[in-house]
Subunit: 352 residues, 4 copies
């Protein structure tokens, strides 16, 4: 039992997801924050909001910048965000002539939300790939065993026989739909954040649209009409998608655990988990864990809903709540996708 | 305090939604169930699965059928669904020659899920209309007061002045996006349910596609490739959309309550609520209730996520959980939309 | 599918609880509200805060009072509570000389919270009785079948044989502890609410303690040192207890559904539910519904936690959230207890 | 944004809790696991279940044992728990003559649940101390400012003046009750886990009671009548207590944030947080974060409720869900207590 099994030296063997973890770590966050400031400076220079030389100068400093993490950690306790101290350090790393143009017109939330989106973009691609492989694996299972029969169970009772293909379709179709829904999720959430202190881009004047367009293009994000500081529907749409994916994986896990329980040959699994007390047992560990992960993500999505009540122009309360719940949701989804792929790969027979 | 304020003889004055209620009531449910059986019989007759005369005969009986509710209520305790006894009664109301063709090839879940979808279609249209009116009302407010200024507040502190227009945009843009997302929600959830006992449409043979297409057309629903008995991602997508709408309304309510609190003229509201102890007070009741409704829907969406773990071919547990949570979510969303419209209509001034 | 299956003309056959419903209905609420005002008037008269004759006069009027529900419903929309208009009506029903003493020093929240507590007291007693009967029924099953053996299942796999007695103990011990915890729950929540407009009992002066003690005694509630208008820890403690009870019942239901699934004689149940498509089936309906109810209550308890953030001296948002979630929790718990009792009564064999 | 702000190199400055973290880390877990095996061996030797020399030999090895974490991490992926491989390694570290007596009669869940309880005991003491200090700090504030007046606010509107003492009491009384409730929570949850493979202590025969009593005494835990492998009401009672504590802290945070917002001198706070865009601002960061933490814990408690449906003799799904949610709840509570203490220490004035 540890603060987070996802990051735990031992339990991450079961629940970890190294690929997602790296995107959620401090290093990737700091890199994406620097990418934001570099893109901002370049765009502002191009738009004539800051001197032409300030753009490459700041961008160059961003590329080299190694922040003092200890000082940021200390300052976060006071400021509630890491950006205030980080910008102070970044500014000091920029040639004096250009310092005043660092972070010009932006605010902490612009940096943090955009950094998340840059990394979320990569994570969603990862998830799409994994979903694709799982759908493919289900196709393979369907090809091998789809013609077999197994006893359908309704309301936890034997009902009538169905084809294995039928049960696999109940797993595959929702996963395919989750993939199809990704385009809308991306458009909802992978959006540049840029609004300045109170979200109105006041310091950019009529150049606001140009700066936003340039930054969005450089960072590979959508360009919004207005900063979405307090409009969190996109975050919630993404969180719902994550919980939906986990929910479908949980159904698959539950079905496989029940098939394994029945002991009537509905499924044959290679390499189940051991028991410290009963060496004869082979447990459908991954199947069960999928259920647990699904229930966890369904729990957490509620917190993301609560965070939609993001009062006024910036809510420290609602925003902090997102920081707590959303990365957990990403790890939960990622771990589930890894486990599902592994579990389906271990299926050696279905039905008869 | 009552079992459900939405249906309460007194509190429904505050929290009720007569238009949604009528769709969720027993009468509308029984009507839609009958519409399902009528459409089924007509489609099966057209497809040659049952005698040609059985179609209109059964459909005619459905149109006239008045079930004995008391007997259904008693049987529901035993069967876990109302359909078993209801079909028994319906069959008895059909001319003897055609009785055996009633409900042919269908199962309880087909009837209940489809009945919900028929009514959900109407409810979503209602919600779309209301959202449209709210967006419009925000446009009117923007036209009247958008040019005024008010003090932005970030992290619960005065920040810098913004235009009223800016704050209104933070309310309007997510609502417009919720409207835009409705098309995908409809496609995800407004889907005919037809699978028979174990979801494989076994009794329809090669006529399955034809029956599904005819029924879907008659009932105004999408035609699925396969019964979605245990594929609940569409239900969850709809639930998430509902929670998202409530979340945005909750943010609007919270903002207005805070604007009213400030006492610095950020907002002027007509006709606030009274107090039994302080006659001088005028409370922003609707604004506060929007926050409560939002938090309730964000709570409930978690239950709909849990219900995605719909094990095997039919889960009494997960399905019952939907029956408990989903109608509450519809009422919560409906009540919030009504209150938001009323609240915005009471705004007599914003900013200065 | 209806707004609330608990109150539904058909589904309440499965999910209803007539005994709890009556306490949560408008009639019982209005009666308890009148009892509050009567007790208040008597206590204030005894303490000399209002004329001696006003006490019995008001109490007498309360006993006879039949409010106009339609007007209250309309006013609730404006005031956010039913009390403002209800007190106005009550006052009009009191002889003119005493009218000004009606509701003296009290506020809406005093009436509503106390009315809930009066009824909650009865509901908790009901639950205690039911829990006692379930524990007793488990004792009977233990006496009949406890010596039999059944296959334990860990991680959804056959493990080693255990005694039936062992499995029953895993059901009974938590239920017994829930009973034991009731005393603390009662002390936490069955507390008179009396604070006046802003919770400081200003109008009672030094007589506050006396009034509180007299009222608490008359109404059978604990006497608090201070009004708990914005201190909702007692409500949350009760909500947690309810979710805990449902959680244990859900575990019992899940176990029984799995025992019934195995088909190896782990359990024999009389009178399962029918299927509209498979007359041969006997479904463990009550067992499954217990799982659904458990997951619903675990969902709702989150909302009660959110309602603890009851800002300042009275939060319309947090309080409304309680009105939405808490009665649902009571119905969920009640329905589960009824179903569990029924389910255990249908057990005709366990193990071998 | 990181996988868990609690463990994050930067954000833990704001949200971390070094004292709780250390108890939840892998090192403390492995130590407590070793303490379990040592206590088990000593108790079994004393009871004559294993050779007298095996007790100290195994206990001695436990004290020295340094497991190979990499191998455990790998095995956890297969076994779903860390214990199988860890016991294998421990056994290898014990003199060959005694190896067969290591972990005798126990199972993985005994080790893991008991390890948690040993550490939870320390964490709850920490929380009790912090709660005590917060209550004390509130007493100090009451002493300094309690006689001042401030405007009460009901339903987000100015109501009537109250004493600062009154508002402080609404914060202090629930915290005091949380402290009072700790005794019952401890008795519910700080319980030795010992049941063996299927929870019936079969290998201990009539010595079971003696072994349990000795181990419980050595480890400072309660001795249960039966293993609570699948009885999770104690865990849920503890989780509810944690959410309750956070809920009260969230109310305090919300109140202070609103007092700071009003700008009418309701509260004076030293050292608020900075802004990257508005150097003039001083944000009530800790107050807001308390609200976010409260909402997160109220979200998570729902997951712990879901985990009560712990099917049959051991549920990998429900147990994994606890591993995900419960440590987060402990960190959330711990962080909130630290922040509340800091926040109250920064109060320099209340009311006027």
């Amino acid at each position: 039992m540890t603060a987070s099994p996802f990051d735990h030296p031992l339990l991450s063997g079961l629940l970890g997801d190294d690929e997602v973890s790296v995107h959620l770590g401090a290093a990737a966050d700091l890199d994406a924050m620097a990418a934001f400031e570099a893109a901002l400076a370049r765009a502002e220079a191009a738009a004539g909001l800051i001197p032409a030389e300030a753009g490459p100068a700041i961008a160059g400093a961003c590329a080299q910048f190694v922040p003092n993490r200890g000082d940021i950690r200390i300052a976060a306790a006071r400021d509630g965000v890491v950006v205030v101290e980080w910008v102070r350090q970044l500014r000091a790393a920029v040639p004096e002539a250009h310092r005043e143009y660092v972070h010009f017109g932006a605010t902490s939330q612009d940096v943090i939300d955009t950094s998340l989106m840059v990394r979320l973009k990569a994570i969603l691609s990862l998830f799409e790939d994994r979903l694709g492989r799982i759908v493919e694996a289900l196709g393979v299972l369907d090809g091998r065993f789809g013609g077999n029969r197994l006893m359908a169970r309704t309301r936890m009772q034997d009902a009538l026989e169905i084809s294995v293909s039928g049960r696999i379709a109940d797993w595959r179709l929702p996963l395919q739909r989750h993939i199809d829904r990704l385009a809308a999720v991306r458009e909802a959430v992978l959006v540049l954040q840029l609004g300045g202190a109170v979200g109105d881009r006041a310091k950019f004047g009529e150049k606001a649209g140009e700066v936003v367009a340039l930054m969005a293009a450089e960072l590979g994000l959508w360009a919004p009409d207005k900063a979405w500081h307090s409009q969190r529907d996109g975050m919630f749409a993404c969180a719902s998608w994550l919980a939906g994916v986990s929910g479908t994986l949980g159904k698959i896990g539950q079905d496989i655990a029940l098939m394994a329980l029945a002991g009537d040959g509905q499924i044959a699994l290679a390499g189940g988990g051991g028991s410290s007390a009963m060496p004869h047992k082979s447990n459908p560990v991954a199947a069960e864990v999928l259920v647990g992960l699904s229930r966890y993500n369904s729990t957490l999505v509620s917190g993301m809903g609560q965070a939609m009540v993001h009062e006024q122009e910036r809510s420290g309360a609602a925003w902090t709540l997102e920081w707590l719940a959303f990365p957990q949701m990403l790890m939960t989804t990622g771990a589930g996708l890894l486990l599902a792929e592994r579990l389906l790969g271990a299926v050696e027979g279905m039905g008869a």
